[in-house]
Amino acid sequence: MAGEVSLNGSMHGTHDHVGGNYLNATKGLKSWLLTLDHKRIGIMYLVSVCIALALGGTFALLLRTKLLHGGYTPEAAAFIGSSKDYNQWMTLHGAVMVFLFMIPAIPAAFGNFVLPMMLGAKDVAFPKLNLFSYYLYFTGTVMFLVVLVMGGLDTGWTMYAPYSIVHSKTAVPYATLAVFILGFSSILTGLNFIATIHKLRPKGMTPFRMPLFLWAIYATSVIQVLATPVIGILTFMLFIEKIMGIGFFNPALGGDPLLFQHLFWFYSHPAVYIMVLPAMGVINEVIPTFSRKPIFGYKMMAFSSLAIAFIGFVVWGHHLFVSGQSPFANVAFSAITLTVAVPSAIKVFNWVSTMYKGDIHFTTPMMYALFFIYLFAIGGLTGIFLTALPGNIHTHDTYFVIAHFHFVMVGAVIFGFLAGLNYWWPKITGKLYNNKAGVLGSVLIFLGFNLTFLPQFVMGLKGMPRRYANYAQEFEIYHQLSTAGAYLLGVGFLTVLLYLLASLAKGKKAPSNPWGAASLDWQSTSPPHMHNFEKTPLMGDPYDYSLVSHDEKTGGYVRKPGEGSSAHH
């Protein structure tokens, strides 16, 4: 490490605010690819997950286009792609979105960028490990691209045995190895964040004086560390099974496919919270900032994140209600799953209460936060239909499930991610964007999202099964609405891309604290200095907005001096 100390230390001798930030402190491709700076690593993740989002979105558009026509007519069958193509698109859409976008999106991109800054620290606890995690992610991503070239994957993202081992002719071993490697990336990121939050908190920042984003990341990291090894070993077993003729999960060789499902969901249910909790963490920052009010029920917010993480470990059986699992297990898993509603409802209640009588600013991040609450409420409530056993049996493996988890999980991640992207954009890039264009983008995405998934609830209840390339005529109208929504969603994403690119090209210079937030990350310059802070930031309640005042000169907010203690470690 000694080398980096002098390297970085020598770069900010000029005290030039423009010349000394993390983006231009060192130059050249190598200074990015081998960087140990958490901010640059965060940006590398940010770019990577956006590419993954575009790739997964393309598969979504392909499969939705295929589903524009159904009804078993020859024209419908030949409309675009074969049923086999559909299986591939459906699988790759799910796998790319889950493993390459949703799991790393918020923790790895924004967690990396913001977490040390919220602690007033210079970096995460293990910077080299952090870079290694990124390259594991990169390797896993490249392997997924290799899978694409090698003829794709048609097992569904769940890779259920025995289909995946015995029947699938696609590149299953590569995909399992990719998931194995991506899992390690996720584990090491979580491990790094836990150590950082424990050991790099400044003196005086007790756990209950941390911004709630950190609580959310902490809870997420615990899940990443404790659940991911199980899918790691599972994918490794699948890989070995496939190449060595073992039958761990193949009934023809004495194996038990149900065991595969148990182990798979032991990870993959908690993984839902790896995706959702960080999104909630972003919302916890955005709503109080733009309501100019402290967050309502801070401690309940912190504990509910931990409660969700904990309960998330003991509900996996709700994915196996019709698998032949024992009725007793069904009842138990159903009951435990229902209890997730309590911490989830606490969060929604607290967000709404935070806004109550607040001075609400309809900025772009706030729009996403408001839409997030709506999506999460609908997604959560339809979850109750699914965890109730009779409701589950009726809707099992139908589009109702698809609509549910897109609302609760995908909606949460996409809207949380975009809220975070728009919230921290000025900090990350040092540029402001056009708020009107931002709001327009958020509305388009919101409308597109609803148009895509609301009809899926209806057709699911009417019995349209998931993962089918064709369907009965009666479902056509719902599929067509859904496909129209998917394209509208695409237009919304393009809008976001355009105004953000415009901001990069000719956006106005962002002040340090354009939103008037009170957490430490906003006391750095925009973009931040190589070492995050030039002056030791002043601590205080992260949700006390009386600590900042509007500054006419820069158009942003500044920390009132003299209040709160310095964030020394």
């Binding site: 230390g9 020598s10 900010h12 005290h15 210079k122 424990h198 790691g232 060789l253």
Partner: protein, 261 residues
């Protein structure tokens, strides 16, 4: 890069700026050590869950086919497992001693303890090599590759008779002698599963031992250069912790496969 001025970063290094093993983002050696400690313990937790998935698989199949785990055990040589258990337990002692030696600046003891630990690990792998090569030679293999030789089957039958007999097991093994084994799929499938799990779990454990040997070798090089002292011994501490978990996993594997038929 050639700028000369070096203003103090926000959190001034101050008095501890001279510690050469202190990374720039930590303020004190203690903070750095504690962070590393949390990191390694979390890593050990992931190892436990990693193997935890496999122990689950072991338990499920054992519960479903107890009689075949019973027979499978006769194919294993418990004496070899016992030697390896003793070797690993002893190496855990020397690993712990190495940490203590580093803390007390006892360079010679540190290096010799690390060398002994390394040799124990090597002994473990040599014993494992003999076990594996015998099994591979006699066709006692995983999954569909399971096709034990008559000599091995006779040997196991003899072993059972020597222990006082187990008519059901002997009957089963005699039946396997009728070739080809592949045609008795329903019958031998659980035994194939036993060896699949045996090779998978002990193989994965063996990989962990090899990784441990690499890490210990790296420590030996650094220790003999005198890079560890009472202020800086975190790598020795972390590798020792890793080594303990590798030993601990074996301590579970040994009775589960070799003893409790």
């Amino acid at each position: 890069m050639s700028s000369t001025a070096t203003a103090e970063p926000a959190h001034a290094h101050g008095h501890h700026g001279h510690e050469k093993n202190l990374a720039h983002h930590f303020d004190t050696m203690e903070q750095q050590f504690d962070a590393g400690k949390i990191g390694i313990w979390l890593f050990l937790a992931t190892e436990v869950l990693f193997f935890g998935g496999l122990f689950t698989v072991y338990s499920i199949y054992r519960a479903n086919h107890p009689q075949l785990y019973h027979i499978g055990q006769y194919f294993l040589t418990w004496e070899m497992g016992a030697i390896n258990t003793a070797v690993l337990i002893f190496s855990s002692l020397t690993a712990a001693w190495a940490v203590r030696a580093a803390q007390l600046n006892q360079k010679k003891i540190l290096v010799s303890m690390l060398v002994i630990t390394f040799l124990c690990a090597a002994t473990f792998m040599v014993v494992k090599y003999f076990e594996y090569s015998h099994k591979i030679h006699e066709g006692v293999l995983w999954g569909q590759a399971f096709n034990p030789s008559d000599a091995e089957l006779n040997h196991v039958i003899e072993k059972i008779e020597h222990k006082g007999g187990d008519p059901k097991a002997i009957e089963f093994l005699e039946a396997i002698k009728e070739r080809p084994v592949a045609e008795k799929k329903d019958m031998v499938a659980p035994l194939q599963m036993f060896f699949s799990i045996y090779f998978f779990m002990t193989g994965l454990h063996g990989i962990h031992v090899l990784v441990g040997m690499g890490l210990i070798a790296w420590l030996i090089v650094r220790a003999s250069k005198g890079q560890f002292n009472n202020r800086y011994f975190a790598p020795v501490d972390s590798v020792a912790l890793y080594w303990h978990i590798v030993d601990l996993i074996w301590i579970f594997l040994f009775p589960l496969f070799y003893l409790i038929g």
